[in-house]
Subunit: 601 residues, 2 copies
Amino acid sequence: MANAGTAAKHLSFYNIKDSFGITQLVVPGASQSHLREIMRGIPTESSVLIEGEVKHRPSSARRESQSGEIEVEVRNVVLLNPVCEQLPFLPSEEENLPNEDIRLKYRYLDLRRDALTRNMKKRHQITHLTRNYLNDSGRISVPLNGFLEVETPMLIRSSPEGAREFLVPSRIYDPDPHFYALPQSPQQLKQILICSGSVDKYYQIARCFRDEDGRKDRQPEFTQIDMEMAYISWGSRDSSPEDGWRIGGLEIRHVVENLMKQIWKVAMDMDLLNFPVLTYREAIAKYGSDKPDLRIPLQIHSLTGSRPNQSEHIVEFLIIRRDDSGFSEVARSLAISPTDNDIERFVISDDNIRSWYINSEILNVQGPDTFTHLAEFNLVVGDIIWVSTRETRRRSAYSPLGQVRLKLASLAESLGHYVPSSKPHFLWITEFPLFTRDDDDKNLTGRGRWCSTHHPFTAPMADDLELFWNNRIEEVRGQHYDLVLNGVEIGGGSVRIHDRLMQEHTFTKILELSEHERASFDHLLSALSCGAPPHGGIAIEVHENEGLDRLLALLCNAKSIRDVIAFPKNASGMDLLLKSPSPIGGEVLKTYGLKSIRKTI
Amino acid sequence: MANAGTAAKHLSFYNIKDSFGITQLVVPGASQSHLREIMRGIPTESSVLIEGEVKHRPSSARRESQSGEIEVEVRNVVLLNPVCEQLPFLPSEEENLPNEDIRLKYRYLDLRRDALTRNMKKRHQITHLTRNYLNDSGRISVPLNGFLEVETPMLIRSSPEGAREFLVPSRIYDPDPHFYALPQSPQQLKQILICSGSVDKYYQIARCFRDEDGRKDRQPEFTQIDMEMAYISWGSRDSSPEDGWRIGGLEIRHVVENLMKQIWKVAMDMDLLNFPVLTYREAIAKYGSDKPDLRIPLQIHSLTGSRPNQSEHIVEFLIIRRDDSGFSEVARSLAISPTDNDIERFVISDDNIRSWYINSEILNVQGPDTFTHLAEFNLVVGDIIWVSTRETRRRSAYSPLGQVRLKLASLAESLGHYVPSSKPHFLWITEFPLFTRDDDDKNLTGRGRWCSTHHPFTAPMADDLELFWNNRIEEVRGQHYDLVLNGVEIGGGSVRIHDRLMQEHTFTKILELSEHERASFDHLLSALSCGAPPHGGIAIEVHENEGLDRLLALLCNAKSIRDVIAFPKNASGMDLLLKSPSPIGGEVLKTYGLKSIRKTI
């Protein structure tokens, strides 16, 4: 691709670009004026063939880029393919780009931007590194072979509700139309594969599909790193490990942790330490979130002397000291919505330092017992304290003070008072409640019943087996692990149930699936009955449908996941390059036993 | 997985199996009788944990398998997961397996068979080798970096006719239902990617989809190795290379040839020589096929002195000498259908050796001139000669004598007279006619017009550019290359058109696309106009929808491609494990603006 050049004395300079970057061309001497003529006539962004001599650039003129140390002294130019229409924009003019919809329509031009070219390379590098690592990584925990990549089908069975799935009509339609579905994840198939005993360690860089509209920066198709291992450990009942990992699945933890270390080493040249482990309860208590951003230097407190028992409300505090240069100013300016009854804020002054708690409705509900414990905070004039109450048991992604913590950080960051560490902060969250009261976000429930916090195949913690069998549903914790990076959940997995009776108990006694719903898991139950090994796994994916793409966006410092996907769809799920989706003729629909609702036959 | 054991003296032996294979367990001494009790009680195919001491087996008892040199002296046994239902079959009893539909339904058991476990491993090994090779292989032809794997979308635009595609309804349906389509190949997207100049060398191990029913041993989804390169060579007009490759795309040829050499080296421990090159015309003339099996030692002849000109019929001969021990007997027994007018057979005897050609209707049509040339065959009594005639220009996969050649080989092989070489015979076929009279197998035509022999993006040969622009359609040869292995086409590709005017000429003047049809290529035409580099590529796939799977079946010596796919569908496209496809409720259909034809609302 040639760009217009500049002439200096008898030399003329032009830039040529390929996938390595920009290389400078030099046309020397007046005798070569016909070459300059040709070069000037070449439209910008055309394809050219340059013949000439590659030379070292003068050391003063060398640049940092891959081809910055050389230049080419041109002897001959062939115009391979000229630009033959008015370009809608010039990809080299980064400051002058049109809106994203236009760039998506002309993706073949937009991809010429250096930033996107770099992203495609980094994506390749990281997926290839991941494959190489997993193929060999068995050696980390087990002395012999590594993981096998196994392709699972894309045309699978639709789930009973069909929510969020994409369907694929088949030409089998007697008497009613029959459909395949595209996988939201290879979850069941990878479990069945491991149940077979054919493969002990499976992975797949797998394309997944989710039909969710109305959410920004999501793609209907995304890529995840999916893994599953046979014979992984169950957490034992009385384990008390040093770092707090009391569930099973240590083998998965090691594989993933080392993978992330290697990715950061190669892509960012950073050495990561071991990832800390928090239980769900600790994470909510200290940071008010089940995916806390550990870079933010703020912690939530409760009163050590007055812990309520587990079934009640808990009172929590967030304190910003007056001399905290990062957060003191934003803490003063952050208002609380008057409709918010769960939260109060007090700015400590000479006037209220001995009385502020008396004005707290939340603390008054707790009774004067509480007041004596407040001394441990050592509040001084100028400090700011939030008081909040929440149900201990209610599962939510953020507590009220967790939200305040994030707001403070976001405000402070935007004002430049707080700069998040450039080192990534990874952590594991474990011991989630295994079941949650229904939640609109879940497929299999939504009728006031219990649903699985993650999915119905997760095993209960060894410590909680009695609670599980006795249907003390609310108290059972699962052998689930989330991997969190800088406050974003980038992966989740679990030790699975391998015992058929335990799986049936989950389906029928806890989730109360109908016969029809349960039947859709028959193959899995049968696979468990055939001597399936204990197993577990993980999927590296963000927000359930961003997958590897979001991780890559973080690594590429890209604002949108669309910048790390070669041919993305826009926020409405439209492919503006191919103009898809598009209508289909009625005759074609008929071959599937379908017709449009609108049309009358 | 434990299998029932045997007892010898005071020792008892049991077999345990994991993904490495079978390991022998030993329970020594009478004192361990409680262990034997436990072992005997474990149902076959259950999951067990064995603790004990790994020992070298006595040298007389060592086996060839991966774990054949060791045995484990058992100290403790934990039954991790017992088989708790009657197994439909025992995967270890290879001679006693049920029919394939039952095995597909219980795929988690079938996958336990050693043969399938080995296939999964080989599949992984070869795809990983392919990726490693392509990532580095730029070094073979170009001194710098290699190929980038780029993921192209699976939800793409449906083609105007929608033939053979799978459709995916979207929830955009105002006023009519809108659909995505699943890709039959990433052809257009990879070209657009290369047109962008962002990536010079692309590959993808890509899932593709084709909705073809009624063909045995095909899968609706399959995997292909897909490649595309920028700046590849065009064949020059006056090239006369030694080995007959007179078109462009040499870079692709080298990459693929070296990839295949590496796969055979690693998977089969074989060193392959360079692959020979035949033009389409030579292949048909010598072997009667555009994908000849070069292992078969039979060639077709024509009369050197009486070559007809190109627009006419050609007379061809296939001769089996009386002392050809491999084919003489089957040549005698192979009958010719009396309705076949294009072909005759003569067994040379004392009686007819000087007169057989007078009885040949085909040779008589050519006139007595021909007879004088027959002397060059030096026929003797006991030889067998076939005479056939075909149109020189008509494109077909097999000529009449090409079919005879294959039948002779198949018969001789089944009788044990001919054993095909175990060395693979690769070759390249080039210089196909660029256009063919319509053909039911093609998407874009079928109305008595010309259609592209392969696809409409293939460039004409440099030698034939004048014919192309002058619409001497029948005579134009394309820059297409097929890779053939033992008579099976395992890949095909071409140098693409990068000139917009040339692509438009193909669409409008030759293929006579309607405005609507042409519009579906607008994005590609526009990408070409923006200074796209010259480019070309290949896809390793067999029969257009068997992909890598067939190649792997060859390498694994598997009878069916289903044996190299973890979760295949049966010949009717049904997934018997997941019971898919399946019907969908009317309410779900409504969200797509669809309803069943059968139902009345």
